[in-house]
Structure formats: C-alpha cells, structure tokens
Symmetry: C2
Subunit: 421 residues, 2 copies
Amino acid sequence: MESIIDRRQRLLGAATLFYEQPVQIVRGDGVLLYDETGKEYVDMYNNVPCVGHANPTVVEAMAKQMATLNVHSRYLHEGILEYAERLLALHHDGIESAVFACSGTEASEIALIMARAATGGRGIICSDATYHGNSTEVIKMTRAGMTNQPSDPDFRAIPYPQKFRPLTPGLDDESLCQLYLDKISNALNDFNQQGIPFAGMFVCSIFANEGLPDIPGRFMAQATDLVHAAGGVMIADEVQAGFCRSGDWWGYETTGFQPDIITMGKPMGNGLPLSAVVASQDHIAAFRENSHYFNTFASSPLQAAVGNAVLDVIEQQDLKNQSATIGQYLRDELNLLLPECDALADVRGCGLFVGLEWVNDDGSADRKGAIRVANLMKDKRFLLSNAGANGNVIKLRPPLVFEKSHADRFLQAFREMLSEY
Amino acid sequence: MESIIDRRQRLLGAATLFYEQPVQIVRGDGVLLYDETGKEYVDMYNNVPCVGHANPTVVEAMAKQMATLNVHSRYLHEGILEYAERLLALHHDGIESAVFACSGTEASEIALIMARAATGGRGIICSDATYHGNSTEVIKMTRAGMTNQPSDPDFRAIPYPQKFRPLTPGLDDESLCQLYLDKISNALNDFNQQGIPFAGMFVCSIFANEGLPDIPGRFMAQATDLVHAAGGVMIADEVQAGFCRSGDWWGYETTGFQPDIITMGKPMGNGLPLSAVVASQDHIAAFRENSHYFNTFASSPLQAAVGNAVLDVIEQQDLKNQSATIGQYLRDELNLLLPECDALADVRGCGLFVGLEWVNDDGSADRKGAIRVANLMKDKRFLLSNAGANGNVIKLRPPLVFEKSHADRFLQAFREMLSEY
C-alpha cells in the first residue's frame, strides 16, 4: 500500500516537509497540536494561528460571515471599511489607506509596484538573506542575496545588520552601524552610476529570515533617512514581524523607524488567506492609477470579518503584553543556559520570536546541529524549526496565546534535550 | 457626514466600483443578493460563489475544519491529498500532480515559472485582449496586448480567434482558423529570430475576457499542435472557464484541446481564496526544483475541506448539466430577440456564460450602450456587467445554481428593458 509520504510525492511533487520523520497533524487547540495517534505537541513554530489553533471567536466570525455574504469588493460593503479603519489606526500618522490581498507574496508585489509608481524609480535595495515571497519579480530579492545566482540589475542586496557575526569585528556599536549604512550608500551610488533610478529599500522590520539579529545603533532610522534623501521609500515587511509578534504592535516600533509602505500577512486572518499593504493616500493613489489592481478574493466581507475577529482577540486578551512578557521570560531563562551549553552561543529576538544561535566548537554556524535540535525536540513533542542566513538559528515562534506554563514545559524539555545532546 | 463612497475612497483609494450608482450588498442566498434596504437582486454576474451565496454545505465544511485544524502544508495531512486526487481525476490522463495557491494571479505565476522550468525557454504567446492576473510578470501578458504599452520581448500577443469580427471578413471557417494559426507561427518565428527560446502559449480556454468568441475551426487543437512542435507547452487558464461554467467540467473540453498545464481559481472555494495549477508529474517536478515554492496559506486543511465541499455540491446537484441546459435555454431565448433589437448583434458563449454583443447602428462595438444596459438592468434588480476586448459584450455569468425560473425572470426584465431602451 502507498504510504502517505509517497502519495503526497505523487500528488504534490517534492513539496517541503518538516522533520526527518514528518508528523501528521490532525487537530489543533490553542498552542497544542495533535497527531493521528493522539500524541500532543506544543506548537513553538506557528505564527499564523496567532490567537490560537481553532480559536472559537475566529471560527464563529468566519462561519457567520460566510453564511451571510462573501463577495468581491466592487459592490459597497461596510465590513472592509471598518476593518481598514481599525487596521490603519494601529499605525503611525501618514499611514492612511490600504490595499488588501490574499498572501504575503501578493502584498510584496503590491509594495514593489507601489514604490515604483510613487517614486518613478525601479532600483530596490534588499538584504542578502531575505525572503519576501515567490513570484517572478519578488523572488529576485532573494536571488539578489545569493552569490551563485545572476542578479537582476534593479535589485541590490546589502549585508543585513547584525552584531553577532559583524562585517568587521571589534568595532563599537556606532561604527558597526555606520559600516552597514555605508553599504546602503554604496548601493545608492551604484544605482546612480548605472542610471537606474532608485525606488526604495525593502526589508523585514526585524530581519526574521536573516536570523533575528541584534541590530547595531540606530540603523533602521538612519537607513530610512538615507533612503528618503535619495528619493526612495522605505518598505517594511511586517508579514512575520507584525500583529504583536515583536512585543509591540509592529516590528518597526521595536526596531525604531517609520516606514512609508508596510506589508502585512501571515497572522492577519489566523489562517484565512489575508494580507494587506498600507501607506499614505498619495502612495495608494499612485499604485491604483498605475495598476488598476483588483483581487477577486481580497477586501471581501469574509476577510474583514475574520480580520476583525483576530484584532478583537488580540485586544481583549492583551496578547501584545503577553508576547512581550512571556517572550522576555523565555529569553531570560534561555540565557541562563548559555554557560552550560557550548553549542548555544546567543539568545536573541523580540516578543514571542526567539532565535538561538547554534554553533560548532570553532564558533562557526552549526546548521546540522540546529536541525538535529528541531528533530530531538519534536520527539519530545515540541514543534520548532531552524532558520537564519546560515540555517543555524533555532526559531521559537509560538502562537501568541503561548503562556508561562507552556514556556516552563518547553524549558524543562529543552534542558533535558541538552543533557542528552 | 462622510458618505460610504467617500469613506471607501479615503480608506482604499480609487478601487473599482460597479455601476453609476453603486450598490451596497449585505446578504446573499443562492443566486439572490440583498442590499442594505432589503432590495432583492438576481445575481447574473458572480461566478465565484458557484454553488450559491452562503451555501450551507460550504459554510459547514469551512466552520468544521477551522474548528478542527488549519495549518500550513509542511506537516502531513490527508485532506489536501484527498482533494488533489479528486481534482486531478476530473482532468485528462497525463494531468497527475497539483500545486495549490490562493489566487488566480498566484496560479498564473506558478504556470509561467513551470512552463519556463519545464522547457528551458522563456517566450510566451498570449492573446491581445487577455488578463491572467496582476503581478509584475503576469500583467506583462495584458500589456503585450496593448499597443500603447512597451511590450516585454518575452511576451507576444496574437489576435484572439473569433468569427464575429474576423481579421479578414468573408473567409470560410477553415481559412479563418488558418489565419489565426498563422499568427502563432509568426510569433514563433519572431522568437526564433530574436534568440528567445519558446516556453509556451498561455490562454483562457474560452477567451472569456476577450469576449467569449465563437472560435473558428479546430483552432485550439491545432494551436496546441503548433506549440508542441515548437517545443512549448500549452497552458490553459481555467480560472473563469472551469468547474462546469462552460457546461463541461473544463473549458478546454468545450473548445476541444488537451492543455499541458492548467490553472484554476475563482469558483474553486466558493469565495475562500483557493487556486491551483495541475500538470504532469514531470512538469510539477521541474517547477518544484526550480522554485522551492511554498505558500503559507495554500494546500491547507481549510482549502481542502472547502474545495471538497464545492465538488460535493456540484456533483450532488449535477450543476454541470444545469449549467449546460439552463445556459442553452438562455441563449435560445435571447437569440429570439435578435430580429427585434438592432443593438443586439450576437448571442454566444457556453454553459452558464453568455455574451451579448452590443453594437451601434453602424455595427461598431457599443461599449457605452453595454454599460447603460448593465445600469438599467441593475435598476430592474439584475446584476450583470460588460466585458470583452471592446467592452461592449454584456456578460451573464450567474452562480451555477441559477435555475430556469431565474432565467425566465431575467428574460422578462431584459425584454422590458429593451422596450424602454
């Protein structure tokens, strides 16, 4: 008989699967997941179900709206306006209007088109270990960071700012910050010399895929100034960073800058495909005029109802505070393990997004070790993963309803794993 | 006080709205929609809610799955495999594997990347009045058909095949077909001369946006042969044509060809964002290898549950037969109006997709008239729209649960409208 893995291979091709022995998940409840044999796992990975797996408030809002109306946005509907107003009020002044979409990739496409329409430029600066989506244009940002891929002249990758493996060791914080800022200036000069008009800089507000680095100095604010001085716009990818993941509402608050264009996605609909781009009325107008954009499934009554339900739960349960405090607790406790575990070289992150730098004896990135930890912790019924530019950062990113009791349960198992590692 | 239209403009920018006096829809039920004052409209436009607005089978499947589990696809789950198997079985042999996504644009991106990965080419032939989505790469197909836009060298637009306004009048069916086929040969030669390796031809199986033309001869099958002989793949966009809209399961059955890569979307999830690309195992493998594609919200238990529910209703209510028979009834009755209405020059389409060619006295396309009809019919509580290369085709495309009684109600109102026009 064909195994489920073989059947999946036949029907879906070589789509990525987690773990050496993949898990089959059949049910979720809050931060807990259950496999087909009833085994319980603590979910330390999934940011999308931010208010918890199978959240009843979200389920009810979804079912109620779907039983009432779900239709495209070329008729008038109060729902999406109410949701847009509420979402925009969570951002700083100057963020005035919204474009809705279904996925993070679609939001990145909109942001690129918007930045280019608003500035008349086309050159984009991104980081050298980024991922903003998988479309033909958006994936160019990922490819720009890969030395073994021909890069598109419109995209320049700069080294992402970090303190752990700095470009030049031994510098003070301000000098290191300046070193990374100089890379932006170099890219701007290069665009200028090649006659490629600059459009903007596109970065995750917390450099999540890069490995959640500690960012030197006031890099983000100063980078924004550089971008503005060159006539460009600053685009913040809040697809992973946003909706209280960082302990603030938005990652850009945590890392201290005010972006011009903001993309949001993953946790917005607790699993319903829902993403958005917000910006000034002028930028949105430039985008609309240039693109005549329409998205069949977006700005729908269903997206609005579910998006509102997610905001309701975040606010009612004060998950912003929970993300900040439980995340800090996790990092404080994990920091205590630094002296007793040579492989654990750094504990970092913000809110309920924790990165653990896993290293070899010589201090080099230990990707294999991080993968081994993910598999060992899975056997102990905790689902987590590895990430980062070198794949050696153990990533803890549970649903925001993750509580201190879950953290303690995880910390005990993690210590056990270390003693057996 | 700010009107809802002004509020929408402020919050969403100049996003498209239907009708001179837009309608505010608050509730749906089957083929009926209701505005905020309780006025009832017959929906003759919406293909997405194919099994009807607020379909209880879909609502229940969605709520049940969302209350059980909805998570990304890097864990094993039976749901998406069962759905993929069922979906693939509805296509011809050789269509073996699937890639899921959220929107039609995402499906078009996947199809383009797949065609290029599978062939090693990059040149794409499309029609001159097409729309396959709004991403930076996919919109190039639309722009290739616009004479006032600089076209991308990788995309060549050919005149879409049609009998109503043929490239050369007076030809017999076979000669006219050959004329359109020659345009493909010219594009292939042009790619060849410019050293652009050919990837494939990307068309809607029924040329829906072009205006639902009657296609001369065996154009689609012969075009497929030409494409194959040049080493390319034939990509069928079934986003509008599929899921029994054409009276067959797929538009390519109605227009008589066997595509290599097939995109699906709109009606798949009755409003849940759900799209897919299906092809041979080899094509899917080439795509996976080239792209390392992952989509957070796609291939999910939620998409699978809702997709299965939609197929359940289509099969249980035999909506394929309903689409074919009620669609034919509509066309037969509308054809009877041809002698008495000079502006109505042609009645065409397939299944529950009807196009009415609206013309001026001199026979030229009357876009303004078609828009006027849409507005007049809205006042009579029937929602429809205009479409086509010249914007003069009145488009009737109701949910598939549209019945003879709805058709009769529409026909009576349409006759009334004509008498007052």
